[in-house]
Amino acid sequence: MTLAIVFWAELAIKIGIIAVAVPAIGMVLGFAEMKLSAHMQSRIGPYFAGGRFGWMQLMADGLKFMQKEDIIPADADRPVFRWAPALPLIGTMALLVIIPISAAEFGIIQDLEVGIFYALAISSLSTIGVLMAGWSSANKYSLMGGLRAAGQLIAYELPLVLAVVGVVIQAGTMSMQGIVEAQTAQAWPYVVTQFLGFAIFFVAALAELNRIPFDMPIAESELVMGYVTEYSGFRFLFFFLAEYVNMFTMSAIAVTLFLGGYWFWGIPTDSALLGVIVLLAKSFVLVFIMIWFRWTFPRFREDQLQTLAWKWLIPLAVLNVIATGAFKVLL
């Protein structure tokens, strides 16, 4: 009986950690985007909320969203419209579970043998959520946004998966913890040998996240706000939160696969605190690059996006898989 209690207590703690981490990461990243974009455009950005630097801006925004009226368009398909925002957030939370933060006993919330494969599978939940939102809003712009998102996600899912295959071949395991351990053992991150894979993964991740230069699904100058046009208040907050936290989880997965995860030269890997710091530092570098891209590049055209995926990224990723497999067999 005590075993059952331990199990349930552990589960409750794990759920608690995820429940706290998601809004916290969302706020930090949202604030970073506001401040960085302001800096890149010679503005000050949030300034007044909370005294110095406007650090409470995102909390104020969150409260504002929560007390807004929950509007459902008259023609909308009500159950689908209501449930659509939940799916991207569920997908995001499920992704956070498998990111390893240290080699210590509680260094990962749940190490799965199929680790990275689970991550790729579960991230497809958000696609369904986006399609549901786009269709149920009964709005042309929303539907166009949903369709663009689906087309884009189908196209970039393939290079994303194929880029990961190279790492899996080299590490000989799909477990996230195992991949980091393999990099620790050779004392070099996989980005050295898998640079092509890393580049493909990063581009495909940008597209999966609908970040500029791949933000056609919510292109504000063409589609108002794409699939989120009709959403307001708390349901909009769900989409917003999922988008920003996903940016972090995708970066953390890229860090784990290609940049050595919680490992860094000269830092012991068995301390949870140091591990978290290293992982967060590496992930935030990637997040910064994503934000930097957003305020630097113009948007792709729909046909350019599809050409990039099908004619460049997928053949290159297949080439990478073949080369990695050949080296693995020969060496």
């Binding site: 689908v80 199929v114 497809s124 269709w135 689906a150 189908i154 799909m174």
Partner: protein, 190 residues
């Protein structure tokens, strides 16, 4: 074993939690008057099915189901429905008038598979439920013992893919191109 014994097992609770929604969602798939609702019910049914696979320790199969069926097949279904016609509300033209032959063939498939599995395995139980089957074992048996059927299926799928592309693709004849240029010119003039 009485029903009381059966229900006191936690695994059987987990089974019921996933199996009952699975049956209800599957029922919605075939009775819904709205294609999008039917497709979304199918997502729910497949998710519950993945849960059942996890319960049986077939973790890899469960996530393949999620990646391939929920992540790709259903997304393509929804994409196809929405890009051609996306009606909200009930659809008058969507009929269920072939429901009896469909029900009959579904029943026949159910009887065949259950009879076959009972015949093949009898009272053999899956031992050590909860310890997932290692992906390595699946990989080794797929590319070792069963490599020929595996390659045959791969070849078949490739052939089907090429066939699909050939059927769907329409190469422009010179006449088509002229017609298109003519309309483009006409549009440019207006």
């Amino acid at each position: 074993m009485t029903f009381g014994d059966w229900i006191s097992e936690p695994t059987n609770w987990a089974f019921l939690v996933m199996a009952i929604p699975l049956v209800l969602a599957a029922w919605r798939v075939v009775t819904s008057r709205n294609v999008v609702h039917a497709a979304l019910s199918l997502v729910f049914a497949l998710a519950a099915l993945a849960g059942l696979f996890i319960l049986l320790g077939a973790e890899f199969v469960a996530w393949v189901l999620v990646l391939v069926y929920i992540g790709a097949v259903i997304v393509l279904f929804l994409f196809g429905i929405m890009i051609t016609r996306a009606p909200i509300g009930m659809e008058a033209e969507l009929s269920h008038n072939k429901r009896w032959p469909a029900a009959l063939s579904a029943l026949a498939i159910f009887v065949t598979t259950s009879w076959l599995s009972v015949d093949a395995f009898g009272t053999t139980k899956i031992v050590d439920v909860g310890v997932p089957t290692s992906t390595e074992i699946i990989g080794r048996s797929l590319l070792g013992q069963f490599v020929l059927p595996f390659e045959a299926v791969g070849f078949l799928l490739l052939a089907a893919l090429i066939g699909g592309v050939t059927l769907a693709r329409r190469d422009d004849t010179p006449a088509d191109e002229e017609a298109r240029e003519a309309t483009a010119d006409a549009e440019a003039k207006t």
